[in-house]
Amino acid sequence: MEPVIQIPSKLRLSNESENVDVLTNIYQEHCNLSVWKRNLPASLVKNINTLLDSDKHLKLIRQVTPDSLYDDIYPTLDEFECAQELITDMTLLVDMFCCLFDLKQAGLRMAILNQAMCPKFHVDKVPCRLITTYAGSGTQWLPNELVDRLSLDLKTAESHHIAQLSSGDVALLKGESWPNNQNAGLVHRSPELKAGEKRLILTLDIVH
């Protein structure tokens, strides 16, 4: 008989709250996802949708500081009404991320997507990544107790167990490089997009 290989399951939980302090829960060993639930201002949503309705291709990969962000990003967005408000919000997130992890800079990726960046469930070999979807469908993720760690997919094909972030949510996803988090990183994927649907996403990585 074939030996059955199993990876011991570690207890990992998600935390979510409308209180921004929830993000600090990521330091708890058992937390591998913390989500600050929030609604973006209607004006920002409207103006971002205008950006998405344009033919603008956007893919920025930069190392940024809270102080450098405006100059780094503004030239790319200055033709759009959302620029000022969006960059102000991004600066807040970069500042929070750098403060939370005691960083001088963060690795920023910002993109308009019209299809799933990676449609397969996966974990990231990083300590922690911040993800927010400013517009469009949010990142999908799997509750830890339902994950088969060998295939990095659901143990049973019950797709209703797939959880999904909402646009505006600010999520910290703990990865495989966080201390004592091997085989316990949050399993997630980009959502499938319908024809014509677009997303505006921002991710921040730890950079030393």
Binding site: C118, K120, H122, V123, D124, K125, R149
Partner: protein, 194 residues
């Protein structure tokens, strides 16, 4: 050297090829099997397989496409196609990707496989318009011929410098001295082949 039951050993054991490790051609077959084995999809992690036999060195690099390109679908915009070409331009420059210490090794062959992310051609559309690629890995396979007067003992891997989303490389190696696994990251980039 004490040979441990390494991940490499387990992997090769899975394809039942251990008896043939002394023969490079069979090792090459092992390569194919290692390469095609289904490992979980971990972003930020790539894999290297190195085989040294006499003055020949073969390196296979496998990575989720996202580590090199930031996406895992067929390139379709001009920018995405340019990113695929840039990644290929980096990888094809073997002397920039790998620095061999104590040995002079010259590249003799290279084969890149970016088929999972190449733009859809008219022929693809004709053959199967709706089918997405079966996998989202890219790979590069290098062959080198090394100066026979010296023995290759260390390989410095430079991939981290060109592809910032590669955070970790698992390097499986087989050489005259034995076999092993090296775990590489941005601050530890050298494979010691002994």
């Amino acid at each position: 050297m004490v040979i441990q039951v390494t991940d490499l050993f387990k992997k090769i054991a899975m394809v039942g090829l251990i008896p043939y490790l002394c023969c490079l051609s069979y090792v090459a077959i092992a390569h194919e099997h290692i390469h095609t084995s289904h490992s979980p999809h971990v972003h930020g992690v790539a894999e290297l397989n190195l085989i040294v036999e006499h003055n020949k060195l073969e390196i296979q690099f496998n990575s989720p496409a996202i580590n090199l390109l930031g996406f895992e679908y067929r390139a379709h915009t001009t920018a995405e196609i340019a990113e695929v070409e840039q990644a290929k331009d980096h990888l094809i420059n073997a002397n920039k990707m790998f620095v061999f210490e104590n040995a002079d090794c010259q590249q003799t062959a290279i084969k890149l496989d970016f088929s999972a992310v190449e733009p859809v051609t008219k022929r693809d559309q004709h053959q199967n318009e709706s089918q997405a690629p079966l996998h989202s890995e890219v790979s590069a396979r290098y062959q080198f011929k090394c100066n026979s007067g010296t023995e290759l003992t260390r390989v410095n891997v430079k991939l981290f410098e060109y592809f910032q989303y590669i955070k970790h490389i698992k390097a499986f190696w087989i050489a005259k001295s034995g076999q092993g696994v090296a775990e590489l990251n941005t601050s530890s980039t050298t494979i010691n082949l002994n």
